[in-house]
Amino acid sequence: MRRFILLSVFLFGLPATASAQDKAFSEYAMKAAFLYNFTLFTEWPELPNNTLRICTLRADQIRGELAAYTDKRPHNATLVIEKITDIRKIRRCQAVFISEDDIQSAPEIFQATRDMPVLVVTEVTDFSIKDAMIVIKIENRRMIFEINLTAAKQAGLHLSSKLLVLAKKIY
């Protein structure tokens, strides 16, 4: 819960930074690409119904970007982009993106996904959402990410070493 809050703070803080709308747009496209790519380097214990479900909450912008990937078949599974409104349903997602807009829901989300093989990706840099497995950051005008390997292991997810290599930080 605390982590969720932290994440939310982080995410809310992001729009506050002086960045243009179009830049924010391409930033989401990039983040959508990152999110999708993360699923490629992640292994789940199982994919129910051979479906890979990437869920978003309020981050409609990123969801819109993600729609571009629906025809792809990561891990030979059907990719489904889903907007979650009921946090309890989040457990059936394989990946969740917590945007800065979702920062209040963060503790709930973590609660819901605890010990579940759900890859939690966030753009919130707040310390409160340190339970997220991957944090996407922008550093020196470059998008980077950090990995909480402990959380991922706890969730029973296996992150590819290639991904780990690229990560700026690993906890």
């Binding site: 690409a33 078949r73 030979n76 990410f145 290639k162 290599v165």
Partner: protein
């Protein structure tokens, strides 16, 4: 090729071995290099492909998260690879995402193919994650390190090749030594044989291989050559013997064992040349035997041969060193005298020869007398031309013969005319008979006791229209020599007989006709029958024909002559000895032959009665003749003193100018008819 042909066998073998081996090794090395190249290339491709795959794997995340820094870090690690030249990573949009080396490649063309198959390779790999294509990676790699490796390999192979060749040559040389040594031995032997010509040498090769067979073959060949050579030597020896025999035949006379005319000519040429060169003088002497023909005809050829041999022996005794004696014709010998000083020396030699040859020869138990006529000519005094020299000597010799026998003359130019004259005479004489140039003269024979003509001696004369009267002494020897004496003798006999017949018919004259018969005539077979036939044809009783013979005929003592004379005697012909006392007579023939008459030679009569010697001889001959029952005729009676002497000493018959010179048949008729020309009164 020429170079190869001139090589020794050993080196040829070496080349034959080394070149293919080297070639094979080269091919092997090249093949290995090619295989290495290809397999290296393949493994490089494999390696690079792997690399591309691994890089793709590594770079997938980088591309996925647009992390070119990490990509370049990954790529930077490639500097360890010696092969990779360039790596280009492009994203799905075809944009270059990362590259190695870091400097971006301008105009990198992913579609461009690698320019050279053998120097570069390019591997292309699609970067995927899951089934998602993220981009492509292009790796260009160079084969240079492989070539470097190959170069090292080639260098090593070359070294190995050289070492192998060296070792190979060493080993081949060792092995060839065994193979080639016999060949070299054979060659050396052959060289030795051909240089020394010693065909008795034989090969002794231990080998039992083809070379051994070759050596055996050579030995067999040498056997053949050697036996051939021996045969050849025998043959050559035989030929040499035959040649020397031929030489003997060609250059030597079998009868006298002297060199022959052929040799004489060669030798003369040499000696004349030497004489001219050394400025000395030489002499050719021709020796002709007198009366040899007579010996040959009367005693037979074998005696003639014996005589020739004996003459040769005698002539040989007096030969100086360097002088050459040859038999150059039937009875003709020639001497070549070198370094003669003067004519006197030659004359002395000739005299000695004449003296030696005038001694009697004992042949088949008989004494034979001959004489020699010698002619000599000097070189270069007379001539330097060999044919002329010979002709000169010949002329001189004939002149000597004409001078009477047993003479030697040295050539003088005027002899040429003499010999020309002789030639003319001979020529004319051959035609004299048919031209009826011969005729007879008759000289009366007077019985001094009854002072009455009892017969005539027929004497042949020759009158030639252009040469005039020719002396009997000039043409009779020629006729004798050329054999014309036989027909001339027959002519005389026939004419004389016919004349006697005519006189008998016309005047009833039945005297004696005396005819000279030469030795040559007498030796002719059937002469007795011939004489009888002629007398018979003429109708002349045999008793009226008297045959006059010279002493020389009677000296040969042959049975043949005896038989003929006996037969003539039996037929009734009388036989007289003409010119008695002049020959080298032995008196034995007087009792041997049936002789009716002796005619004392005119030389004894000429000086009667003054010369006591002649008186003694004449008296002795008359006494001897009478005691042997022969009629004695004196020839050449010219003076009444001679006639007186002869009458006093009871000579039977005379003839001579005192009563009448030889006269024509018409003149002679006057003697028969009793009206002789006035003769000098004996008072």
């Amino acid at each position: 090729m020429k170079f190869y042909q001139n090589l020794k066998i050993g080196n040829k073998l070496l080349l034959i071995n080394i070149i293919p081996a080297s070639l094979a090794m080269l091919i092997l090395v090249t093949s290995i290099a090619a295989i290495i190249l290809l397999s290296s290339r393949n493994s490089l491709i494999q390696e690079i492909t792997n690399q591309a795959y691994m890089l793709g794997e590594s770079l997938a995340a980088s591309i996925a998260f647009n992390d070119f820094q990490s990509a370049e870090t990954i790529l930077a690690a490639l500097h360890w690879s010696p092969h990779i030249q360039q790596v280009v990573v492009v994203d799905t949009a075809g944009k270059i995402f990362a590259a190695y080396p870091r400097s971006p490649v301008d105009g990198f063309d992913q579609t461009a193919s690698v320019s050279d198959y053998f120097t570069e390779i390019r591997v292309q790999h699609v970067i995927q994650i899951s089934t998602q294509t993220l981009g492509e990676i292009y790796i260009d790699a160079t084969l240079d390190p492989i070539y470097l490796q190959l170069r090292k390999f080639a260098l090593f192979a070359l070294l190995a090749l050289i070492v192998a060749c060296a070792l190979g040559i060493l080993m081949l040389k060792r092995m060839q030594l065994n193979l080639i040594r016999p060949i070299v031995e054979l060659t050396d032997y052959m060289r030795m044989i051909s240089s020394t010509n010693d065909y008795s040498l034989r090969f002794h090769l231990g080998n039992n291989d083809e070379l051994g067979e070759l050596a055996t073959g050579f030995n067999a060949m040498l056997d053949k050559i050697e036996s051939h050579r021996i045969n050849l030597d025998h043959e050559l020896l035989r030929r040499k013997e035959a040649e020397s025999r031929l030489h003997q035949f060609a250059y030597f006379d079998n009868v006298t064992r002297l060199p022959n005319r052929h040799y004489f000519k060669e030798r003369l040429e040499n000696i004349v040349n030497a004489t001219l060169k050394h400025n000395t003088c030489c002499c050719v002497m021709l020796i002709d035997l007198d009366d040899f023909k007579h010996v040959n005809d009367t005693l037979g050829h074998h005696v003639g041969d014996e005589l020739l041999f004996a003459v040769a022996q005698r002539l040989n005794q007096d030969l100086r060193e360097g002088d050459v004696l040859c038999r150059i014709g039937g009875d003709e010998f020639a001497m070549i005298l070198e370094n003669t000083q003067n004519t006197r020396q030659v004359e002395l030699i000739a005299e000695r020869v004449i003296n030696k040859l005038s001694l009697p020869f004992m042949l088949s138990g008989k004494e034979v007398f001959i004489g020699a006529s010698i002619g000599a000519s000097f070189c270069p005094d007379d001539t330097t031309d060999i044919p002329t020299l010979l002709r000169n000597a010949d002329n001189a010799m004939y002149s000597a013969k004409n001078r009477g026998k047993n003479h030697c003359l040295i050539y003088k130019p005027e002899m040429e005319t003499k010999s020309m004259k002789r030639f003319t005479l001979e020529h004319a004489l051959r035609r004299a008979l048919e031209q009826k140039e011969l005729f007879l003269l008759y000289q009366p024979l007077i019985d001094i006791h009854r002072n009455q003509v009892i017969g005539f001696e027929a004497l042949v004369r020759w009158r030639n229209p252009s040469l005039g009267m020719i002396n009997t002494s000039d043409f009779i020897p020629i006729a004798e020599e050329i054999g014309l004496i036989v027909p001339i003798g027959e002519f005389v006999l026939r004419t004389a007989c016919a004349q006697m017949r005519d006189w008998k018919n016309r005047y009833g004259f039945e005297g004696i006709i005396s005819v000279n018969i030469s030795g040559r005539q007498l030796t002719k077979p059937g002469i007795v029958e011939n004489i009888a036939a002629i007398a018979q044809t003429a109708g002349l009783p045999y008793q009226q024909l008297m045959i006059e013979l010279t002493e020389s005929i009677l000296m040969d003592h042959s049975q043949e002559t005896l038989d003929k004379l006996e037969k003539l005697n039996q037929l009734g012909f009388s036989i007289a000895v003409d010119d008695f006392g002049t020959g080298y007579s032995s008196m034995s023939y007087l009792k041997r032959y049936p002789l009716k008459s002796l005619k004392i030679d005119r030389s004894f009569i000429a000086d009667l009665p003054e010369k006591s010697n002649d008186v003694a001889i004449t008296k002795a001959i008359i006494a001897m003749g009478r005691s042997l029952g022969m009629k004695i005729t004196a020839e050449g009676v010219e003076a009444p003193q001679q006639l007186d002497f002869l009458i006093k000493h009871q000579c039977d018959i005379v003839q001579g100018f005192y009563y009448g010179a030889p006269m024509s048949a018409e003149q002679a008729e006057r003697f028969i008819t009793g009206t002789p020309p006035p003769k000098p009164d004996k008072n």
